[in-house]
Symmetry: C3
Subunit: 437 residues, 3 copies
């Protein structure tokens, strides 16, 4: 069994390339919140980690919602009177509005036009649109191509089905020493876009894979779910179980080249919030901390007032702040192996901090213990960072009064978490600290 510490310090060599390869493999698949594309995606993930696949029938009541009909699509196009396909699903699955009802009709451009969506400001990009809860249909296309459309009689085909079926999601439970869980979740419902959301799938798959063989203090609950309806469905089926979640993260948009951003949980200062902030501060890299707001990804559901779970969101560039968001420009070029790896590494460090954040009590609380006679005061290895290490020892001794966790001590001392943890371990080995149970 590997320790999480080793997983942090020895990243697998090919981890960035491996994640990028998974993104590439998943890229062509037409996913949605239900259907065969979603199933195919989960099966590919399942080659790496033993996901349990859940199938929830259409029509199932999940809190205020209902599991929708299952949507599948085989083909879709718009062809002009000469039979030329001017819009073709086979070239990009973004071309069809996701969840479009079946259509087979001939119509003029004027009749077709209300069903066409473009980005006039970005004439070379195909937008991404959905119509989950209106029975409707449409096509998305490059504005440049839209302008080239002639007055003509068009053949419009959407060979889709919207029928009773299932909502599919993947779940992995990794038991730890404690029943308390760390929740890690990502959405799996977007078609051919890489940052949103193949990056989350790739990073979460690699994290889960590493955790499989690791010593775990916490149990882990790992979810690959369609956005919104997926988290609502999971929460409705696990209303009691959700109370075991002690810390949680929603992963979304973790592959672009921007800096990491973290959105606090509704509570604002939960341990997960403080752990992520500590890791990002310790990283020395630029990053942004965002206050909670009830808009965004599945943190909206986990942080709804009835649950109020300590779940934050880990992203790089925030959704909606970059022009490529929800368009064909969120492609294989838009994400980078180095970014996936950086996200993975920071997330692993967050898990490591959570796993090793304990509270100790100083066994010699009256005055300082004599560190020198225990070989803890001098600098035998002539380390350049000895001043910092000794200060960390003193901080841990001073604040280990049963009321401060190591994360609290790191925050108050402005030391790195690693220095504080190292100090605690040395002091525990010397019999000066006792772990609080």
């Amino acid at each position: 069994m590997t320790s999480l510490e080793e997983l942090c310090t020895h990243l697998p060599k090919q981890i960035g390339a491996d994640m990028m390869a998974l993104v590439e493999e998943l890229y062509p698949i037409c996913r949605s919140i239900t259907g065969e594309g979603l199933r195919a995606t989960l099966q590919i993930v399942r080659r790496t980690i033993p996901l349990v696949i859940h199938e929830v029938p259409s029509g199932t009541a999940v809190f205020d919602w209902t599991v929708p009909k299952e949507w599948n699509i085989r083909d879709a196009y718009v062809a002009n009177s000469r039979g030329e396909k001017v819009v073709d699903f086979r070239r990009s699955n973004l071309h069809v509005v996701n969840y479009s009802v079946p259509v087979r009709a001939r119509m003029t451009l004027a009749e077709l036009r209300p069903h066409l969506h473009t980005l006039p400001d970005r004439p070379d990009w195909i937008p991404y649109r959905t119509t989950y809860y209106d029975q409707s249909w449409g096509f998305c296309l490059r504005h440049r191509d839209f302008l080239a459309l002639k007055d003509d009689q068009y053949e419009v085909v959407i060979d889709s089905s919207l029928e009773d079926g299932h909502l599919t999601y993947g779940e992995l439970h990794l038991p730890g020493q404690q029943e308390d869980e760390i929740l890690l979740t990502t959405h799996v419902c977007h078609p051919s876009m890489c940052n949103d959301n193949l990056s989350g799938i790739a990073v979460l798959t690699s994290l889960a894979n590493a955790l499989l063989g690791a010593q775990r203090r916490y149990s882990y609950r790992i979810l690959f779910i369609p956005g919104t309806i997926g988290s609502i469905t999971w929460l409705a089926r696990n209303r009691q179980g959700a109370s075991r979640i002690r810390h949680g993260l929603v992963l979304a948009g973790v592959g672009d080249r921007g800096a990491i951003s973290y959105k606090r949980s509704r509570r604002g200062d939960a341990e997960i919030d403080r752990a992520v902030m500590q890791v990002l501060r310790d990283s020395g890299a630029q990053h942004r901390i965002l206050d909670f707001s009830p808009y965004g990804y599945d943190e909206r559901q986990f942080c709804s007032p009835g649950f109020d779970l300590p779940v934050g969101r880990f992203s790089r560039s925030e959704y909606g702040t970059y022009p490529e968001y929800h368009s064909s420009a969120d492609d294989l070029e838009f994400v980078a192996a180095a970014s996936l790896e950086d996200s993975y590494a920071n997330l692993m460090r967050v898990l490591f901090v959570l796993e090793s954040n304990e509270t100790f009590t100083n066994q010699n609380p009256w005055c300082e213990p004599q560190l020198g006679k225990r070989g803890l005061y001098d600098n035998p290895q002539q380390r350049a960072d000895w001043g910092q290490i000794r200060l960390a020892l003193l901080w841990v001794l001073n604040l280990s009064d049963g009321k401060h966790s190591l994360l609290d001590i790191a925050a108050r001392s402005q030391a790195g978490f690693g220095a504080i943890l190292g100090a605690a371990r040395a002091l525990e080995a010397a019999g000066l600290l006792r772990r609080q149970l």
Copy 2:
């Protein structure tokens, strides 16, 4: 019955001009903390609102104080040996020190000089001085005129009386659905000065007039009282009743052209403090928030430690910070109909916020409710501000856990109060929120 919301959104057309007309009518009257000028002022206000006039006998003990003798004045002047009036009360009632005892004497300039008050830095302005609690007398005059006084024998006349009588104040109680009261008060004891204090009288009269015909959740306690001794007298006579005051505002100096300033209550974060700050923030206009201090107007008495009522002060330019303060330059030119109207409008919005600040509980607290099926998620009217409205809906749902009032939600979300209230109403209509009683 009009709602306070309508009173906010549809200001009476002539409201600024009406208030200015009242200021003009009241301007010539020589008011003091007791006496006929004060009575005449309250009678004029009573033409608009059904004030109850209270008369409290001189000598009445009111906490540590005693209601003083009643002061009245008919005439006052200083005449030179040629019989020319060099200082004349009939030209400005500021010329006599307010509460001067009767005088009828001949004296040299040297004898007179200790009784003369001027503003050497503002040689054209007459200062305002009082001598409520010393039995004394004096004249105030322009420094320029003072310098022109010759060595001469002067006739000095103050035809005043200081005798047992009454302290007069006006009170209006407007019952609401609740016994809990909103206190609105202004002082009515200053002679011919417009900002301090005719502006307060005019704005409070208009507010009270509007409230008369309005639907009221709270009861209203509206006081027109002489400064300091008036609030002490009212509190002494209403020691028990004062505990019904849930929110209160002292209005003072609300007609000048400066920005609005708000002085917090002693508590610092009472609901009235947060309501005023929300309204001023929402207004987008420049404004200033001042911390509580025990100096100022009648908030000193309402915020004395035995009462500690949540009463703040609403002003425009702070007293003492503008040179015209307490001088003849605080005249009809110094105040503006637009400023009176702006004060009125902001105060009405504060009352509206207090009246509509309720706490709701989300009836679907587990995950978000499906807004779409209730027509609350899409943007059917294609409103440009839809993003804000939808975000307000989500904030209200997320924070309506019984612990956050709408004002709390507006503050945390940084949304306007109107957006939050609108969202709460829409959600309540959809059965998603329930009002907490």
Copy 3:
């Protein structure tokens, strides 16, 4: 009996010169954490104040530590083959590493070199080094002299002894009206350096001398102790008694020309912290407030988690931030009589604030009392600062609800402590305040 207020307002004329003279007298003595130099120092202090001298035998267990053997030194030198003393303890007692074991040997430069310590960056200064807890020896010398050493056979003599004996410290207990104590402590273990630590000895001697004849509300516990082992020893012998300490200050480095710095207690907002900050703010002089950290002087022991005493540290330039620190450059030129006096004056003001910080209750809490009839509202002496004084009266009345001490009132009102105290006294004399017991 003098009051502390008089001690603050009338500093003895020669106080700076007197303290400087004590520094000069103590300068040549070779002090350490035990031994005759320490005893001689305490005897000199005892000429001024009736210190009780404690002798604690070597080997005594004090918490996790043991009182070390007593170290004494008579002579030490390094002589070259021509008998010339190239390093000579008689010229500066910094030349020998403090607590060096006896040595009498001949050796080559190569053999000697590991025992020589210099400051290459400051070639004209002798560093200060100690070896309390390793049985070792060494010499400190100017880097310039070190470079001039030739390959030669050297005679190395350290005529010291390290034997069972005692650890010596001085204690003065001054009983006050209350058993609760103010702790004032300084370390007395450094050889010939002036800021660290003769300045502390001089200032604490003068403070104690002044307190001897003063009216004291609190009892005072004044300690002259060797650093670290001294405070640990005192705490071990006074574990119960330490709980009487209500406020405490460690004095260290109070004679240099830098601005005053104050390091907060572990609690961060103890009354001592707020008292020092008030005094420094009131002084108008530049100063720095440092957060607690578990490194530094004896505050480390007093603020260890088992004790967590409200003890801060009062210094001028922080140790380690000036190049002269722990070297021969911390000499008689490095400290100034004016700095010693300024430290003394500020410390006395801190004591005065602590002694006079009481909580009162307003006996007329309903509305303001009528100050005028008690001669407290007007400005009879025509004082220029009347506005401030009157405001202080109002603040004290407003906040004297039994929950705010005078220090709380000074902080909230941003008035000086003196103004607030003066107001409280005037109000108490007028029967408007009652002291809370």
